[in-house]
């Protein structure tokens, strides 16, 4: 993993270094794709699609992904370099801890450390520029694609999966060096291991998620507890008992839950420079208020970024509408809400959207946080569609 020790990061303003570095990475990824294609792990269509996907990192890196848009991406890169150089985390902001920033919630704080280890595992030729880690992100996405595709049997659903991998949000965020793709990969894998009721591996993935992104782990904990502790997949009665228990736990621990929600909410306002100088910010005072607000927050979340004429709105609002239509179609086609497991998956999606919608004030950041949950639901829906199509095909035969 090559980089310049005298320069922090290279951007497109030094085009020779930028292009040589990223074309080397692209060549590395193409070699990987060729090998996968040669050994029949990818078909020709997938081979071409994924090559274009890797190429899009450079194109988006030149045209769209400005360094000031994702200042965090440099921090992960510095941690990977630290690990490459020292085989340790000497940099101050790369170190992990078991008792993180907030003793109440963030007890596992490895949000830089663990992604850096994941990035370190794939030895791409160069980590010299602001978008180098995007190639590793895309490789993880490719691995997730192959993993999910192996669970599908119908060709058309396999194609839908391929298309989902190239929707604007995923295309954009998999062209950055942020941890969000890793979060999405872990969330999606956790979904599959949980619904297949693989307890040990699910526990490992949940712990991994808690270390990388505790907010998402808290939401995924609902799915984990629902399946493994309350057996919600068995019947709607189990699911209702589980939900009632959740409600009781929620009310009992409302002080702690509200503290966490308000903590993150104010944290994001501070990060975006939206805190008023008076320091007085609206805070949720009761769990009931949070529940009453949740349907509106959910609708706001799924329609985000809303109608508008900025580039963000023009690209991502139609995508949101497309995804909603896709879900409605898929849900009707598969009779989605007739199974308790599906309802539980939807509840987890609902929670993820609501919590992020309440906490994150910035549209771009919200989209970045949302897509892990959106794909969580879409992958599950795709699995249901595949089951239905295979069933129909078998009946026809």
């Amino acid at each position: 993993m090559l980089y310049d020790i005298f320069a922090d990061l290279y951007y497109f303003d030094t085009p020779v270094v930028f292009l040589l570095s990223e074309l080397s990475n692209l060549a590395f990824c193409s070699i990987l794709l060729c090998i996968l294609y040669y050994f029949r792990k990818l078909n020709f269509r997938e081979f071409i699609f994924w090559n274009l996907g890797f190429l899009s990192i450079i194109l988006l890196g030149i045209t769209v992904v400005a360094p000031e848009m994702f200042p965090d991406s440099g921090s992960y890169l510095r941690c990977v370099r630290d690990l490459t150089d020292n085989f340790a985390f000497d940099e101050l902001n790369c170190q992990g801890s078991v008792e993180g920033d907030s003793k109440l919630f963030n007890f596992l704080n490895f949000k830089k450390t663990l992604p850096a280890i994941f990035f370190f595992l794939i030895p791409i030729p160069s980590i010299a520029t602001s978008i180098s880690l995007a190639f590793i992100n895309k490789i993880y996405l490719l691995a997730l694609y192959i993993f999910i595709r192996s669970k599908l049997s119908d060709d058309r659903t396999k194609f839908y999966l391929l298309v989902l991998m190239f929707l604007p949000t995923l295309l954009l965020y998999s062209s950055t060096g942020l941890r969000d793709i890793l979060v999405m990969v872990v969330v999606a894998t956790l979904l599959f291991t949980t619904i297949e009721r693989k307890f040990v591996i699910s526990t490992i993935f949940l712990l991994l998620l808690a270390a990388i992104k505790p907010q998402n782990a808290a939401v995924m904990m609902v799915l984990y507890a629902g399946i493994f502790l309350f057996r919600s997949h068995k019947s709607f009665l189990h699911l209702v008992i589980f939900l009632m228990s959740c409600l009781i736990i929620g009310v009992s621990f409302q002080v702690e839950i509200l503290y966490v929600v308000n903590y993150f909410r104010i944290g994001f306002l501070n990060e975006n420079g939206l805190l008023p100088l008076s320091g007085v910010v609206f805070e949720y005072q009761s769990f009931t208020a949070l529940i009453i607000d949740s349907p509106l927050a959910f609708l706001k979340g799924i329609f985000s970024p809303g109608f508008g004429f900025s580039a963000l709105n023009i690209i991502f609002f139609p995508e949101s509408i497309f995804l909603i239509i896709l879900f409605i179609w898929g849900a009707r086609y598969t009779d989605y809400f007739s199974e308790s497991t599906n309802c539980l998956v939807f509840i987890v999606f609902y929670l993820g959207i609501v919590l992020n919608s309440i906490v994150v004030p910035n549209d771009a950041t919200f989209l970045r946080y949302r897509f892990a949950f959106v794909y969580f639901l879409l992958f599950h829906l795709l699995l249901m569609v595949d089951k239905k199509r295979t069933r129909i095909k078998n009946n026809d035969l």
Binding site: I5, F6, A7, L20, A27, S30, Y38, G273, G279
Partner: protein, 292 residues
Amino acid sequence: MKIDHKLLIAYLSKSLRFILISTLLTTLIGFVYVINETPRHEVSIIIAPNMDDDKVGLGANGIVASLVGAGAQKPFIFEFERTIFSLDVAKRLDENENLLFKIFKDFYDEETKSYAQINNLDSRLKKIKFWFYGIDYKSIPNHFMLRDYIQGSVNVAFNDFSGLIDISSLTSNPYETQEMIKILLRETDNSFKEIDKTNTEAKIDYLYKEISRNKEVNQIAAISSILQTELLKKSMMGSSANYKFRTVRGFEMSEYPIYPNFTFILMLFTFFGFFGSLAYKIFRFVLNIPKD
């Protein structure tokens, strides 16, 4: 076609010569490139905001207080970046230091006493772009161009942990750049002073009136204390001392050029040659196998 890793390895063994030659060739191109690059030094200075007069009201809210903490300096970096790269500062630099001429003197025509148009790829592309809007674009050195030049050559980075601001530049003329950053910081501070001046004077006038109107000793003492602060502020504005920020570490210059990094650039070309040629060969190989 039979899928066997041995076939792939055998093909690559046959292509080894091509890969080796391509790698050596790109390394050679890299060598030529690196010896033709202009060496650049790094010039930097570290400053910190003067927070005495700009304390953020944290209120009694525990969460807000814990979150804001060291982040209270964050609004300053936004304010600082907007000011240092403002048109006002660019104009001041030109008026007081004739910086526009110093930087773009090659384009100055003594006969017409004006600047000639810059003709490069960027200006031509902009000309095409603005032609679509129906605007006749002229790339002539002016205050806007000076501001863009400063923004492109000076890097401002805020460190979240220390709260310090690192101002640096990678340059082939380190002494000139150091001088430019020095006057840039001075004029940025002057711009801050100018903005605050009217406010402070209005406050002082009001406080003087309040003192003459009040008879209570306690009230006079309280107003005097505020007045003292404002008068100190005013004296700072009138002096050449730093007003909004202080220097933590003065100018430093790298002893030797830090760009281009010889080994890095050479290795980059080598990697490109190696992975590029390897990808090309494997691509050709796999595309020759029957599809599905």
